[in-house]
């Protein structure tokens, strides 16, 4: 049975259909999950897509963290379910404390919209399982607040535990250590600023994002029989 992915929709999210279609193109099933819901039962993986949840008021992700669905997302993650936050979704996961660090305004204060090269730094995460370390992927970024920031201690832990999932080949936004994506300690929660769903069809100029989403679907399969949250 195809893995079923829940794509969480906050007011202000705008990449949800891109994520749904990218998952479906790879043979997965995908539904939108409203932020006001309180259960993610029946899903094998969750995607928090890009956009401007709750208008990015206060800070990106600061209000989304209090959406009713986030308790269920937290329980799903705690039970080992694969959770991926893309762009604004990454910001939500850091604000929710499911991932370390924070995303602040880009160095140079530019909104960045470009296809960039990112390097896979670990194969040990739900988004990069089976993807060789060192693989370079061309994936679009589209953000104003994508400058990954954390204190030195956190950075040392991320490096020591091999939790930097993706690095920019040419750092576009000032992110510490060129970090484009990180995972949690259990490696089942991943956040990244690049948009793999926007690089999932030849018509979009790159299919490199499919490599990551395919890994997510593979990671989702073992959970298919378990009922979570």
């Amino acid at each position: 049975m195809a893995p079923r992915v829940g794509v969480v929709l906050f007011p202000g999210t705008n990449c949800e259909y891109d994520a749904v279609q990218a998952v479906q193109r790879l043979g997965g099933a995908a539904d939108l999950v409203w932020h006001g819901d309180t259960s993610v039962a029946g899903y094998d993986a969750l995607i928090l897509p890009g956009g401007f949840a709750h208008g990015d008021y206060l800070r990106p992700g600061a209000i989304a963290r209090f959406s009713p669905i986030m308790d269920a997302v937290g329980r799903f993650a705690a039970d080992g379910g694969p959770v991926v936050g893309i762009c604004n979704g990454f910001q939500v996961l850091t604000e929710a404390g499911l991932l370390p660090g924070a995303l602040q305004k880009n160095r140079g204060l530019r909104f960045l919209c470009a296809t960039v090269a990112v390097r896979v730094e670990t194969s040990d995460s739900v988004l990069t399982a089976g993807v060789p370390v060192g693989a370079e992927l061309r994936i679009p970024i589209n953000h104003f607040e994508g400058n990954y920031t954390c204190d030195e201690r956190t950075l040392a832990v991320l490096r020591a535990e091999d939790r930097v999932v993706l690095r920019y080949v040419d750092n576009p936004n000032g992110s510490v250590d060129s970090i484009a994506g990180v995972c949690n300690e259990a490696r089942n929660v991943v956040g990244l600023m690049p948009h793999p769903e926007r690089a999932s069809d030849p018509m979009l100029g790159s299919v490199d994002g499919s490599v990551l989403l395919h890994a997510l679907l593979r990671s989702a399969e073992p959970q298919a029989t378990a009922t979570v949250a």
Binding site: L58, T94, E95, A102, Q104, T149, C150, D151
Partner: protein, 100 residues
């Protein structure tokens, strides 16, 4: 329950020392274009004003500090300071006190 009084709160949120502030740096670089020199160390931040009903100033300050720490500031990159004054006094609660 003790009768409650209304307090005015001013919370200032700013980036922690050592966290790069591209907004402050850009503002600083713009100043010479206005012929304004000698300005340095510009840091951008946010301020929030709200009222709290509490029995006394200490309780108002305690609640305001929780609001600042749990919602208004992201402790990973930001710090906050909180100032509380009786709302009956005209004007603002004044400059924020030491970091909360």
């Amino acid at each position: 329950m003790a009768p409650s009084e209304l307090f005015s709160v001013l919370v200032e949120v700013r980036l922690r020392d050592g966290i790069a502030d591209p907004q402050g740096a850009t503002i600083e670089r713009a100043l010479p274009a206005l012929g304004l020199t000698g300005v340095s160390g510009v840091r951008a931040g946010k301020s929030f004003r709200f009222d709290i009903a509490a029995p006394d100033r200490d309780e108002a300050l305690a609640l305001a500090t929780v609001v600042a720490d749990r919602l208004l500031a992201n402790p990973v990159i930001e710090e906050s300071s909180v100032a509380v004054a009786p709302a009956s006094l005209a004007g603002s609660p004044g400059p924020p006190e030491a970091a909360a």
